[in-house]
C-alpha cells in the first residue's frame, strides 16, 4: 500500500469515527474564515496606511527635541508653560459651553421633531441637515459677515433700537460659540432624535393613565428614556469640539486659541514639529481618556453603533 493510499485509509477511518463528513465541514469552515479575512484586508491596510502610520510618526516626532535627539522637552514645556495650561483650559471651556448650548437648543428641537408626523418630521430634518451639505469654511465665513460690527445682525438690532452700540459678536468667544453651536447642532440632534423615536407612545399613555400629569410623564418617563441619546449626542459634540480648528480660527479673532490652533501656530510660525506633535498626542490621549471614562458610566455601544 502506498503512502497516499494509507493516508486516505486513515482519513476514512477518522471520518467514520466522527460521522460521514465532519472533516470536510471543518475544512470548509476554515476556508470560509480565510476568505472573510482576505476580503477585509484591503480596508485594514488602508486604515493602517492613512491612520496608524501618521499617528505613529507624530508620536515619534513628539519625542524628538530641538537638537534632533530623543528628549522629553516637548512635554515638559507643556507642563511648565502657563500658556499651554491656558490653551487646554480654553479648549475644554469652549467644548463644554458649546455642548451645553447645543443641549439647551437641541433637546427641545429634537423633541419637537419626534412629535411631528413622519412627513413633516422628514422635511424639518432636512432643514436641520441642510447646513451639513455646505462647506464648513463657507458657513464660518458667513457667520463672520452676519456677526461683524457692521454686519446684518448689528445693523438690524440697532435699526430696530434693540441696542445702541454694536455688540461684540465676533472675533471673540461669543463668535466662536455661535459658529460652533451652529456646526455641532446636527451631531446632537441626530442621535437624540433617533433615541426619542424609539420611545413608544404607549409609555406616555401608560404614565398618563396611571395618573401622571403631562409634566410628570415627561420628566419621569420620557426624559429618562431619552438620556442614552442625549449622552451619545453630547459626547460626540464634545469630542468633536476638542479638536476643532476652523471656527475658532476665523471667528475667534486670535483671542480664542484652542489646542488645534496652537498646533498650527507651532508649525506655521515656529516650524516646531516636535511641539506640535506633542500637543496632538496629548489631545488624542485626553480624548481617548474621556471616551474611556464615558464608556464606564454609559452604554457606549449605542454611541459607537454597536447595536442594542
Amino acid at each position: 500500500m502506498s503512502d497516499a493510499a494509507a493516508r486516505i485509509a486513515a482519513t476514512d477511518a477518522a471520518t467514520m469515527l466522527h460521522g460521514a463528513n465532519a472533516a470536510e465541514l471543518r475544512a470548509s469552515e476554515r476556508g470560509e474564515r480565510r476568505s472573510l479575512l482576505g476580503l477585509t484586508s484591503p480596508a485594514v491596510l488602508l486604515v493602517l496606511v492613512i491612520m496608524v502610520l501618521p499617528v505613529g510618526w507624530l508620536f515619534y516626532l513628539s519625542f524628538i527635541g530641538s537638537d534632533g535627539t530623543f528628549s522629553m522637552e516637548n512635554y515638559t514645556r507643556m507642563l511648565e508653560s502657563k500658556a499651554y495650561g491656558r490653551i487646554f483650559w480654553t479648549t475644554f471651556k469652549v467644548s463644554f459651553l458649546t455642548t451645553g448650548i447645543c443641549i439647551v437648543i437641541g433637546y427641545p428641537l429634537a423633541y419637537f421633531l419626534a412629535q411631528l408626523p413622519s412627513r413633516a418630521a422628514n422635511i424639518c430634518m432636512l432643514a436641520v441637515l441642510l447646513p451639513f451639505w455646505t462647506s464648513l469654511l463657507v458657513r464660518t465665513y458667513a457667520w463672520l459677515v452676519l456677526l461683524q460690527r457692521r454686519g446684518l445682525i448689528n445693523e438690524w438690532g440697532m435699526g430696530l433700537g434693540l441696542w445702541g452700540e454694536p455688540l461684540p459678536l465676533v472675533h471673540n468667544l461669543n463668535g466662536t460659540l455661535i459658529g460652533m453651536v451652529h456646526i455641532m447642532l446636527p451631531f446632537l440632534i441626530l442621535p437624540l432624535y433617533s433615541s426619542m423615536k424609539q420611545i413608544s407612545p404607549d409609555y406616555l399613555k401608560a404614565a398618563s393613565n396611571l395618573g401622571a400629569t403631562p409634566a410628570q410623564s415627561f420628566w419621569q418617563v420620557f426624559f429618562p428614556l431619552s438620556l442614552p441619546g442625549l449622552f451619545a449626542g453630547s459626547l460626540i459634540v464634545f469630542v468633536l469640539c476638542l479638536g476643532f480648528f476652523v471656527t475658532p480660527a476665523v471667528l475667534g479673532g486670535g483671542k480664542v486659541i484652542m489646542v488645534s490652533n496652537q498646533i498650527t501656530n507651532n508649525i506655521e510660525l515656529f516650524f516646531n514639529w516636535g511641539a506640535a506633535s506633542a500637543l496632538g498626542v496629548v489631545l488624542l490621549v485626553l480624548t481617548l481618556a474621556i471616551l474611556w471614562g464615558a464608556s464606564k458610566v454609559l452604554p457606549l455601544d449605542n454611541i459607537i453603533g454597536g447595536g442594542h
Binding site: K205, S208, N209
Partner: protein, 358 residues
C-alpha cells in the same frame, strides 16, 4: 360579585370619524357595575377606539361617556382613575418591577411604607411574589403581562380596561391566563372592559360580549346567547365556524330541498331566511331520526382527523359544503363513514338557528 368600589359605565351616542371612516358610529352601551364586558370585533372594527375613548386617549366627536354619575368625556386621561393593561404592556424599561407597580402610588403621594406594602400585595395577587427587584428586560412575556396587570390594579381603580392583553402570549399560557384573569376579576370585582378579536377568549371570559363591526354595536348579550342566537349574519359568522344555508319560506313555514325545517324561533322580517349551520351541532344520524331532528341528505367529500376531534366535510343537495365536527371516541358514528358515502346529517330543532339576510 359587584363591589362597592366598582362603577357602571354609560356610553351613549359616541361617534368618532377619521376622515370619511366612522371608527365609532353612534354607539350606545351600558356596562354594569362590576361586570366583565368584552368588546369583540375584527381589526379596524372600532373596539380599540372605544376603549381609548374610555381611557381618554381618543376624544369622540360627540356623545357622552359617564363613569357612575360623572360625565368624563372632557376629562384628561390622568384624572380618570382607570386602570389599563396595554397590548404592549408599556412597562417602563428604566424602572424595576417594584417601581413600575409603585408608579401610580408615587404619583398619588402615597407614603413610602404603604407603597412597599401595596406593591408587595399586588405582586402577590398576580403570583409574582419576590419579583420586585427584577428588571423589566429580565421578565418573560407572561411575567410582563402580570406586572402590567399588577400596575393597573395597585391603585384600586374602579374600572379596569384591557387592550388585547393576552395576544402576545403563546396558546397554552393564554388559555391559562384567561382563567386566571377571570378569577382575578371575581376577586377584585372592578368593572372590566376587555378588548379582543379572539372569539373563544371572549366566550371564555365575559359576563357579556359586545360584538362591534364598522364602528357599530352588532349585538350585546351573554356569551351563550351570542353564540346560540346570533342577531345577524356578521355575528353568526364571526363567532364559530358557520356555514349559511338559504331556506325557502312559504306562509311562515321554512323548508330546504323540499323538506320542512323545524325551528325553535323564527325572527320577524321579510328578508330571506338563512340557516346557520355549526360543525359541532351537526351529527351523523341513521335513516330513522328522532322527531325533533331536522335531516339533511349529504355526500361525504373529505375527512380530517385532528386528534381531539374529527372534521367531516359533506355536500348538501344544493351544493353547499358543510363541516361536521365530532369527538373521536371509539364507536362514534363519524368514525364509520368514508369519503363518497351518502349519509344523513341531523340537526336538533333547538340548535336550528335562523337569521334574516341583510
Amino acid at each position: 360579585m359587584s363591589q362597592t368600589g366598582a362603577l357602571p359605565i354609560s356610553i351613549s351616542g359616541v361617534t368618532k370619524t377619521y376622515g370619511q371612516v366612522h371608527a365609532l358610529d353612534n354607539v350606545d352601551l351600558e356596562i354594569k357595575s362590576g361586570e366583565f364586558m368584552t368588546l369583540l370585533g375584527p381589526s379596524g372594527s372600532g373596539k380599540t377606539t372605544l376603549l381609548m375613548a374610555l381611557a381618554g386617549f381618543t376624544r369622540p366627536d360627540h356623545g357622552s361617556i359617564r363613569f357612575g354619575d360623572e360625565e368624563i368625556i372632557l376629562k384628561p386621561p390622568h384624572l380618570r382613575d382607570v386602570g389599563m393593561v396595554f397590548q404592549s404592556y408599556a412597562l417602563f424599561p428604566h424602572m424595576d418591577v417594584a417601581s413600575n407597580v409603585g408608579f401610580p402610588l408615587k404619583l398619588r403621594k402615597v407614603g413610602r411604607a404603604e407603597i412597599d406594602e401595596r406593591v408587595r400585595k399586588a405582586l402577590g395577587t398576580v403570583q409574582l411574589d419576590g419579583y420586585g427587584e427584577r428588571r423589566i428586560s429580565q421578565l418573560s412575556g407572561g411575567q410582563k403581562q402580570r406586572v402590567a396587570l399588577a400596575r393597573a390594579i395597585v391603585f384600586n381603580p374602579r374600572i379596569l380596561l384591557m387592550d388585547e392583553p393576552l395576544s402576545a402570549l403563546d396558546k397554552k399560557l393564554r388559555e391559562h391566563m384567561q382563567i386566571e384573569l377571570r378569577h382575578l376579576h371575581e376577586k377584585l370585582g372592578m368593572t372590566t372592559v376587555y378588548v379582543t378579536h379572539d372569539q373563544r377568549e371572549a366566550l371564555t371570559m365575559s359576563d357579556r360580549i359586545a360584538v362591534i363591526n364598522h364602528g357599530k354595536l352588532m349585538q350585546l348579550d351573554t356569551p351563550r346567547t351570542i353564540y346560540d342566537q346570533p342577531a345577524n349574519r356578521f355575528v353568526a359568522d364571526f363567532l364559530g365556524e358557520s356555514t349559511f344555508l338559504q331556506l325557502e319560506e312559504k306562509a311562515g313555514k321554512l323548508s330546504f330541498d323540499g323538506k320542512p325545517v323545524k325551528v325553535r324561533a323564527l325572527p320577524g322580517g321579510s328578508n330571506a331566511p338563512i340557516l346557520v349551520l355549526r360543525p359541532e351541532r351537526l351529527v351523523v344520524t341513521g335513516e330513522a331520526a328522532a322527531r325533533d331532528m331536522n335531516q339533511f341528505k349529504a355526500e361525504v367529500t373529505d375527512l380530517v382527523y385532528q386528534g381531539d376531534s374529527s372534521l367531516m366535510y359533506a355536500r348538501l343537495a344544493d351544493g353547499t359544503e358543510v363541516a361536521v365536527r365530532a369527538g373521536t371516541r371509539t364507536g362514534a358514528a363519524i368514525e364509520n363513514v368514508a369519503v363518497g358515502d351518502a349519509i344523513s346529517l341531523g340537526l336538533h330543532r333547538d340548535d336550528t338557528v335562523v337569521i334574516r339576510d341583510e
